[in-house]
């Protein structure tokens, strides 16, 4: 019994995994719809790809002991700016309209990353609390998007449509030999692919690179990291860039999902991202946690919200449930910390 507790104290993510699996089976056995199949899982990933991608960036920032409140606004902003650049209002491409969709997406991601780096510089060199400066960015992105337009912009561009449907035309391999080649539609779960890629790169970055390890060191103790000669300044600046980069990517995921952009998209998403990170077992004081934890947290969160929507629970209960889960995990972490110290 004691050894189990010690194991849990060392690896709190195990608890999340247990809860996650329990919720999965609970949700599956209590619903009369088909649940235990690969489509449910893919749907979970497809529908929560945006949240997952944001949570990866958020986890990196939280590992250093910082926080980024602007992620929800970045998502809303990037969907809107993307749609704004791609659409052609009167069928006339102009300087700000009718861009190539991929160029527009790259531009949006680049701007967000640059802004993130500026935030990082402000946090590190000017010693502004991250909570405040990212709060300012929250207003700035939201305001920027709202000033551009308060309406939703729908995009009918064929590439975006293809991304939205997840159907791509490829030459039919069976008819290859014939002269007139046929095309078939291949479904690609593009958001799931994006999510898994970001997760894989993120966990590699955090676990196996000097940059990632310096994040843990900074979160543990910034002074010690400095004394050890780690590139604290660089890591701290870059991590805010990474977070904004992830948020913009998440915005693109939402944009391709809806093939439309609106300034008020993903309002309050930063709190969901923080919740997912905390449920995964990453400590908000920094230094403990990781991307794998966040993935487990994401799946737990996704299963709970999905199970809630499958059952006819009274409205509002799902929010209370996620709050309750958050509380349970925080208390558990507290308990384990005390156990470890004792």
């Amino acid at each position: 019994m004691n050894s189990i507790l010690q194991l849990l104290a060392k690896r709190p993510v195990l608890i999340t995994i247990v809860v996650c699996v329990a919720m999965y089976f609970l949700a599956g056995f209590t619903t009369d719809r088909p649940f235990f199949n690969v489509y449910t899982m893919i749907n979970l990933l497809q529908n929560n790809a945006m949240l997952g991608i944001v949570a990866v960036g958020m986890t990196c920032v939280i590992l250093t002991g910082g926080i980024d409140l602007s992620v929800g606004s970045v998502i809303g902003w990037s969907t809107l700016i993307c749609a704004f650049l791609i659409q052609t209002p009167k069928g006339q491409p102009s300087f700000f309209h009718g861009w190539n969709p991929f160029l527009a997406m790259a531009t949006v991601v680049a701007i967000a990353t640059a802004c993130g780096l500026v935030v990082g510089i402000m946090v590190h060199y000017l010693e502004i609390p991250p909570f405040l400066i990212t709060l300012a960015m929250l207003f700035l992105y939201r305001g920027w998007a709202l000033v551009v337009t308060t309406n939703e912009i729908s995009v009918t561009e064929p590439h975006v449509k293809a991304l939205a449907d997840g159907l791509f035309s490829v030459p039919d391999p069976l008819t290859k030999v014939r002269a007139g080649q046929d095309y078939i539609q291949v479904p690609v779960y593009i958001r799931t692919v994006a999510l898994l890629t970001v997760l894989a790169i993120g966990s590699w970055l955090v676990r196996y690179t000097g940059f990632g390890r310096s994040l843990y060191a900074i979160g543990g103790s910034e002074n010690s990291a400095n004394l050890m000669g780690l590139p604290v300044a660089r890591s701290k600046v870059v991590v805010y860039g990474v977070c904004s980069f992830c948020s913009a990517l998440a915005g693109l995921a939402l944009f391709t999902q809806k093939s439309a952009g609106a300034a008020l998209n993903a309002r309050g998403n930063e709190l969901d991202a923080i919740a997912v990170t905390v449920i995964g077992g990453t400590l908000l004081s920094g230094g403990v946690g990781g991307i794998v934890n966040t993935f487990v947290g994401l799946i737990t969160y996704a299963i709970i919200s999905n199970a809630m929507s499958l059952h006819a629970f009274p409205t509002g209960v799902d929010r209370m449930d996620i709050g309750g889960l958050l509380l349970a995990f925080i208390l558990l972490q507290k308990l384990l910390q005390m156990k470890r110290r004792a």
Partner: protein, 378 residues
């Protein structure tokens, strides 16, 4: 004053002069520049806005009496700003202890919904008729719920030592869920049934909260004035304020010095809960609806910005209630100015962002040191 600095800049507190690191008594004594109130930037911001209005839209200052109520932009600023002002009062104390509360909007929503449910004359889910509760019961229940929410936050943060952001995040997420659950997804609208004698109906009494009674001044302004006066008196005329500041400066030292830090942290959150309850009642009365989704949406950000403008240090340890009130008024003046000068209200967000960035820069010790050096060399 040299001419080199920005025009409205007041002398910043300069760090002890360079030279041998010996602190003499004269250095410890606050210099003249230190005696400027810490809310100087709120005053400057408000003054700039008022001057702008004086030049570009003098009609801003026009107040008239119509149907027994005062009408005009200054009254609007105070009336619609009352919610943020109330919350900023409590938020100041919470931030002074080194905490933060993200759940204020959710607490407002809960209070509004509880009041609305008790005042409605039918059950929202089953649509069965019920006799509306008297006003005092609705108010007591609403404020009670808000105080309970504050107790919850305070217990988590003060006694269980959970980080304030996370602890209040829990209530922020689940609070609105609770409000939606209580109302069954319907927002209780507070409209008078046609056949009831209006004067005696509790809804009428409830709606009167946001209406003018006293020389045409809306009650909301009176509520804010009384609350502010009481709070400032209690906090600054007793040792309470000093306790809050010292907990924000160094909680461990306070504990050693014999201050029951846990209790005072709890107290600050409970007080904020009470303020949110008042704000929720004002909001429900103003909009004639107890809205679980919209009531107090994003108000936590406005309140934090108001507190920051008011000169309260956001890492705790130093606060000014007057500053927070002025900050809230300045923000609402900005809203009304933007509206009345025909600029798109969307610019509000952008301006607010720049205000926060400027405040951040001004509060940053690094920037202050640089500015001080720059001033000395000039």
């Amino acid at each position: 004053m040299t001419t080199s600095g920005p025009p409205a800049s007041a002398p910043l507190p300069t760090p002890p002069s360079s030279g041998p690191p010996v602190l003499s008594y004269t250095q410890l004594k606050p210099s003249r520049s230190r005696q400027l109130p810490i809310y100087i930037w709120a005053v400057v911001a408000l003054a700039l806005l008022l001057v702008y209005n004086l030049i570009f839209s003098p009609s801003f200052y026009h107040i008239e009496m119509a149907n027994g109520r005062l009408i005009g932009n200054p009254i609007n600023v105070l009336h619609y700003g009352s919610k943020v002002m109330l919350i900023a009062l409590g938020m100041t104390l919470v931030i002074a202890t080194g905490g933060i509360d993200l759940s204020v909007g959710a607490i407002m929503a809960i209070t509004g919904c509880v009041c609305g449910l008790l005042l409605c004359d039918k059950n929202l889910v089953t649509l069965q008729a019920r006799t509306p509760s008297p006003l005092w019961l609705a108010l007591a229940a609403g404020l009670g719920a808000a105080i309970l929410a504050g107790l919850w936050n305070g217990t988590l943060i003060g006694y269980l030592k959970i980080q304030p952001i996370v602890a209040t995040l829990i209530l922020m997420i689940s609070g609105r869920g609770l409000a939606i659950y209580l109302t069954g997804g319907q927002a209780p609208t507070l409209t008078l049934p046609a056949e009831v004698p209006a004067r005696l109906h509790p809804i009428e009494q409830f709606l009167a909260i946001a209406k003018p009674t006293f020389f045409g001044i809306p009650n909301t302004i009176l509520i804010v004035a009384v609350m502010s006066l009481l709070t400032i008196l209690v906090v600054r005329r007793t040792a309470l304020g000093m306790f809050f500041e010292s907990i924000g400066n160094n909680s461990a030292t306070c504990e050693v010095a014999g201050i029951n830090t846990r209790f005072f942290v709890l107290l600050s959150y409970v007080f904020l809960g009470f303020c949110c309850g008042l704000a929720g009642i004002v909001d429900a009365s103003m909009n004639t609806i107890g809205d679980p989704n919209q009531s107090g949406l994003d108000i936590e950000l406005d309140a934090i910005v108001a507190v920051a403008i008011g000169g309260t240090s956001l890492v705790g340890g130093r606060f000014s209630l007057i500053g927070s009130l002025l900050g809230a008024i300045a923000m609402q003046t900005l809203n009304v100015t933007i509206q009345s000068s025909g600029i798109d209200p969307q610019w509000n967000f952008v301006v607010k962002a720049f205000v926060v960035i400027v405040i951040c820069l001004l509060q940053s010790p690094k920037v202050r040191a640089k500015l001080a050096k720059f001033k000395k060399s000039a």
